[in-house]
């Protein structure tokens, strides 16, 4: 016999408040907690904990280890090459460690590469020029990026994501391709030039290409998103009532910007400047493609040593010096930042 019980229910079921199904996320959590509760897993977990390896340590340590290995290993190789000397061989440098006889190991440290960097003024001037160009580009990026980030952070909420996406949009095409595009834009027969002539703003088309200005334009254009994003985050966090309070206390808008907005977004300014300055110092693609023979930058010199002169030891020495010169100040700066940040946080 079959009993058919017709059920017709309207509205919410008063008794069963839990849904009869679990969402995918709940299923995953349930499975995970079941797995973690399982005896052998628990035992292994407590063993690992004894060794100081908790979950948190694992998820942070593994990527750090990865980064360390792939930073340190190439660094040590480059360091080794920088103490070597040129040879017509494959690879084109003399081995650092040689066996003089069966029992005697000969380590030949060639300091000549570093001496050469010091003696030939090309390298020092290239380095100084890179620092100058990176500094100027960073300032330009800050001057363009700050109002931009401010505008985005103060726009209406539904506009913000669209504007931020537009800032990041260039990343969707290749960096190289975008720099190549600037060759077309800055050249003598570029549409920009033609427009300027047609408007009567300039008499004859000039070319910005192969000047320092082309390099500045290229760097500022390429690195602007790295400036805008940290600035946006800092400005968006700023409490607007602080500006109202300043205004209420008799502070004019310009003054309020200088004494409230600027100091309270300092972290964003520092982060953005570092993200632009550091890669811009070692930049070689932009000066090679857009710059002229005078736009000497250390990254470009390094590239030419490696691939044109095939002088790997000197190129490595350049790389090591550049790294030390950049890392030292950055670490000191970072520490000062942390000390200052600790006070007003």
């Amino acid at each position: 016999m079959v009993i058919v019980e017709p059920v017709c229910q309207r509205g919410r079921d008063p008794v069963v408040s839990r849904p009869a199904y679990l969402t995918l996320g709940e299923q995953f959590t349930a499975a995970l907690s079941a797995l973690l509760g399982w005896g052998p897993v628990r035992a292994a977990q407590s063993r690992l904990k004894e060794w100081g390896l908790t979950g948190r340590v694992a998820v942070t340590a593994v990527p750090y280890l990865w980064l360390l290995v792939f930073f340190l290993a190439p660094f040590l190789i480059v360091l080794k090459i920088s103490f070597s000397s040129v040879e017509i061989a494959m690879p084109p440098f003399a081995p650092l460690v040689q066996w003089a006889s069966d029992k005697v190991m000969l380590v030949r440290l060639n300091l000549g590469n570093f001496m050469f960097l010091w003696e030939d003024s090309l390298y020092l001037s290239a380095l100084l020029n890179s620092l100058k160009m990176a500094a100027v580009s960073t300032m330009l990026a800050l001057l363009i990026g700050y109002p931009m980030a401010y505008g985005i952070a103060r726009s209406e909420r539904h506009w913000r994501n669209i504007l931020l996406m537009l800032v990041m949009l260039p990343f969707w095409t290749s960096f190289l391709l975008r720099v190549y595009a600037w060759i077309g834009l800055l050249g003598r027969n570029s549409p920009v030039n033609q427009l300027l002539v047609w408007l009567g703003l300039i008499d004859e088309p000039g070319s910005l290409l192969q000047t320092d200005w082309a390099v500045y334009i290229g760097i500022v254009y390429s690195y602007l998103p790295f400036m805008v994003l940290p600035l946006y985050t800092a400005i968006e966090k700023l409490d607007m009532t602080l500006l109202e309070a300043a205004s209420d206390l008799g502070c004019r808008p310009t003054r309020a910007f200088l004494s409230i907005t600027l100091p309270l977004t300092r972290e964003g300014i520092v982060a953005g400047c570092m993200l632009v300055f550091i890669p811009a110092t070692g930049e070689f693609v932009i000066p090679s493609l857009l710059g002229g023979p005078d736009s000497l930058m250390i990254g470009r010199v390094l590239w030419e040593e490696f691939f044109n002169n095939r002088d790997w030891p000197v190129a490595s020495a350049v790389a090591i010096v550049l790294l030390l010169l950049l890392v030292g100040p950055i670490m000191l700066f970072q520490r000062a930042q942390q000390a200052a940040g600790g006070v007003h946080r």
Binding site: D239, L242, A246, S247, D248, L264
Partner: protein, 378 residues
């Protein structure tokens, strides 16, 4: 010597010759289609502590922000001390504000925060330091000079915010929920301190709050707001004892409201018949309303007496059954059901120690004097 008694001195709004210090003239503020403040007119006198009281979203904060200059009125004008302030930017107004969030500058010390306003005015360093020290002493916050806001407790931050807004000696001090972020104990304590400081400095206060107890303690007068309009303006006593509308009666304190209609309309007294009460109410004041119109009788719970025996009184006596009792120590609260089913709230002080108080389901008599009730028509 002045012939005025202290109370009269403190009531400039009763003097027709008094000149208002702050004048809000038919001010309207619209945000798109939404009317935040609707045709508000208000006069505030020098030395007052005026409280704008209302539920959130009633427009009280918008009105305050217009006084500070953060918002521009869509219509109407604002005057402070006779000067038209409508188009003056906030940084040029003789007004300071204490923000609900305090809005202390996190990168500045206590002294820098408090001295910020003086620096904007270009006051020399020595005078600045002296004034900052003086005001910090007034708010009892000496010894914290070099602390940053994050190193202070909530109460201390509130004091810094107060000091910062007072140090410029503003003509008008605006306080947005000044005690909102403090816990109950600290609130009560700070309320009285605020009044002391206000009286010491003689600054005119405009306070925004949604907390009626705060308004009752701090205010010389209260303006009850709802939906962008001021419903009633008056002293705390006026607002509590003589509400002019159902909304005000209900918003301030707790009240019993009985619907009825006028059956006897004399200049000195009225009688109202109410089905909810199952009888007529005698009110010892006249009511301006059309005969037979629906009116409401409002009676506060503490004005209702509760007895086992029918009291020796002709009017305003009704029978009911006790439904709920809450013994709170100092007072007891009762919920009494009238025969119509209408529930009446009664609060009685426990003045003496007794064990034979009325109990659940007991038949009792409720009564109040003819002057205890108020008739409202809207």
């Amino acid at each position: 010597m002045s012939a005025l008694r202290p109370q009269e001195k403190l009531k400039p709004w009763t003097d027709p010759a008094a000149v208002p210090y702050v004048r809000i003239e038919r001010v309207t503020k619209r945000f798109g289609d939404f009317v935040a403040v609707n045709q508000v007119s208000l006069d505030i006198y020098k030395g007052e502590a005026f409280c704008l009281l209302g539920p959130s979203g009633c427009g009280k904060t918008t009105l305050l922000r217009m006084l500070a200059g953060f918002e521009q009125p869509t219509e109407g004008r604002l005057f402070i001390d006779g000067q038209d302030m409508t188009a003056i930017p906030p940084y040029e107004r003789p007004v300071n504000m204490m923000f609900q969030s305090y809005a202390l500058f996190p990168h500045m010390t206590v002294v820098e925060n408090v001295g910020f306003g003086l620096r904007q005015d270009g006051i020399p360093k020595a005078e600045r330091e002296a004034r900052v020290a003086e005001i910090l002493q007034l708010v009892r916050l000496t010894g914290f000079d070099q602390r940053k806001p994050h190193q202070l407790s909530g109460g201390q931050r509130q004091r810094v915010a107060l000091a910062r807004s007072l140090v410029k000696r503003p003509k008008l001090l605006l306080l947005d929920e000044p005690l909102g972020a403090l816990d109950k104990k600290l609130r009560e304590h700070t309320q009285f301190e605020l009044i002391n400081i206000q009286e010491t400095l003689g600054v005119t206060f405009v306070i925004v709050t949604h907390d009626q107890e705060e308004a009752m303690t701090l205010a010389s007068r209260i303006g009850v707001m709802n939906q962008g309009e001021i419903l009633q303006t008056g002293t705390p006593t006026d607002i509590y004892e003589y509400p002019t509308s159902k909304y005000v009666a209900d918003f301030i304190g707790s009240v019993n409201m009985f619907e009825g209609r006028l059956v006897e309309d004399e200049p000195a007294h009225v009688r109202i018949e109410s089905a909810e009460l199952g009888g007529t109410v005698y009110v010892d004041h006249g009511v301006s309303s059309a005969p037979d119109a629906t009116v409401w009788v409002a009676v506060r719970p503490e004005k209702v007496r509760i007895d086992r025996e029918r009291p020796d009184q002709l009017d305003n006596v009704f029978a009911g059954t006790v439904k709920e009792i809450a013994y709170l120590g100092d007072v007891s609260r009762y919920l009494v059901a009238l025969d119509s089913g209408k529930l009446v709230r009664v609060t009685q002080p426990n003045t003496d120690r007794r064990d034979d108080r009325v109990t659940w389901e007991e038949r009792v008599w409720l009564s109040w004097s003819p002057s205890a009730n108020v008739v409202v028509t809207q």
